[in-house]
Symmetry: C2
């Protein structure tokens, strides 16, 4: 079994660098250069075994997801991913586990040209904290508080798949590999986030569920929203496994989709469709912002629908 320094060497040997990394893994800290005229965007997310993923999740999937959830936050800020640190706490210095973890982690990192520049390896119950850094031209970060009444509410891709997988996992009944893949291997919408720079008025990523996450935008912008449940983008697989009444709670209150939810004036709709299409991502208008506070959901039959829970909070539920 390798010690801590051997593990770090193992990680370092697999990392691909970038020109703006003046000093990467192997000193007291990394030295990085933010380009002139750009701001630095920083986010940090932790995954705990048994809380954020089922304990039997493969190390490669854990590695992928640990980075994906952070890149998703950068995407929601319309930032270009650049660097990350990785703090990994493991029961044992299991070199094979770390290698498999890195397979997933570095696969995604290399897809987005993200350089792992440092971190820590410690012994303890399995948990992973990634801090991701991105850059954005000054003043162009996409915030939660820029929405206006009348703006349309959009989501990318489809929502509810990850929550569907989790529901199947909990029920220990039939399960869909496609849904499970969306839970284990979320796609951070990085290109979509960049495409929305200067177009969207506010944005957030869907990690805790549409109701909770859109709720943050509403709170930050001092607005409410009307959502048409019939317009929620739904994958064919989710529709095959869950009927409408089962789907809505998954789509509104289930987390882990890592799609983007954003707002924009109706006049921008065609530009948004083109921008998203250019990066191969679908976008769907699901409702509109209103001055009256609160989230108002309506069924296709025109009836009011109240989301069951206010979204996932780590201290109140178990993934």
């Amino acid at each position: 079994m390798p010690g801590e320094f051997a593990l770090i060497d193992r990680i370092r040997a697999r990392v691909r660098s970038r020109a703006d990394v003046l000093l990467g893994i192997g000193d007291d800290a990394a030295v990085l250069r933010v380009p002139a005229g750009h701001d630095l965007v920083v986010t940090s997310d932790t995954l705990v075994s048994g809380v954020h993923f089922p304990a039997e999740t493969s190390p490669a999937d854990i590695g992928w997801k640990a980075l994906a959830v952070n890149l998703s936050d950068l995407a929601a800020m319309a930032a270009t991913p650049a660097w990350c640190t990785l703090a990994i706490t493991l029961p044992d210095a299991d070199g094979d586990w770390v290698d498999a973890f890195l397979d997933g982690f570095l696969d995604l990192a290399q897809q987005h040209d993200v350089c792992l520049v440092g971190g820590d390896t410690t012994r303890g119950p399995l948990s992973i904290t990634v801090t991701a850094h991105g850059i954005v031209p000054e003043g162009l970060a996409l915030r939660r508080d820029g929405a206006h009444a009348g703006d349309e509410v959009w989501v990318t891709g489809s929502i509810g798949d990850a929550a569907g997988a989790l529901a199947q996992w909990r029920a220990r009944g039939p399960s869909s590999a496609k849904l499970r893949y969306r839970l284990d291997r979320p796609t951070p919408r990085v290109a979509a986030g960049l495409a929305l720079r200067g177009i969207a008025t506010a944005g957030i990523d869907l990690s805790d569920g549409l109701a909770a996450d859109l709720g943050h935008v509403l709170a930050a912008s001092g607005l409410g929203a009307r959502i048409d449940l019939g317009r929620l983008p739904t994958s064919r697989t989710l529709a095959d496994h869950f009927d409408e009444a089962q789907r809505w709670p998954l789509q509104l209150s289930g987390g882990d989709d890592y799609e983007l939810c954003f707002t924009a004036p109706a006049s921008a709709a065609f530009g948004i469709e083109k921008a998203l299409a250019s990066c191969g991502v679908t976008g769907t208008v699901i409702g509109q912002l209103v001055t009256e506070p609160g989230l108002h959901c309506t069924t296709p039959e025109g009836e009011d629908y109240v989301p069951a829970a206010a979204g996932f909070e780590h201290f109140q539920g178990v993934h």
Copy 2:
């Protein structure tokens, strides 16, 4: 018991901001501005209960230490601390625990004008990962690989106190509150690190013990060192509790001192003394760099002395 969002609000309410924090806690990520002509310095360290601190350590001490070990890394790079993120994993959403943790964490943060800009709160076995960000004028970061043969080896303050406290804790016999304070409340040598900019040739902070940490400088610089054990700076309290033969292993192989070890040509000695004195820190020359690889320690009687262990590695020992 508060939920996750209530905990975050609790933390946010106590944070003091800075002008270069364009967006702090409360969005998908923080937006920060690195001043022109400066590089970004990033480090990340995790503390795990029962591994990096005894489980009964007070939350305020844990909070202090979680930030201190990261600021110590910035100090070793001669960087000015600016911002940090905090990822905190807790068994329960215990608001009182978090408040006490913040007492220590924010006390140190405010001493160094460090702004907490984001992070994550999750449920699980107690562990804390802090990612700290500093800035340094372009090209002035103090690295491990800049040392030259003939340079003198310095350490700040005194070493061995924290390891002495840990030895007393393990023996469950008499203990010194002064030594324990150095274990629980390490002082990151931030001002000393800044004072050494452009003077020291290489530097590192002493987290894993002098032998291991100086060993990293030697490996990075392709050199060896001769250390005179009689010159190791020793606090009166450590000397009161441990005789020489007991002290040397603590000073060479014990960790957690968070002093700086650095190298500089002998011609710089007077300048270094003045620079350190201006920030109220003592500095002691303990040996010299040589071209022959390896760490050679000599007792005051001129005998060779071989350090017992190669320093602390998290996967091989328990703090």
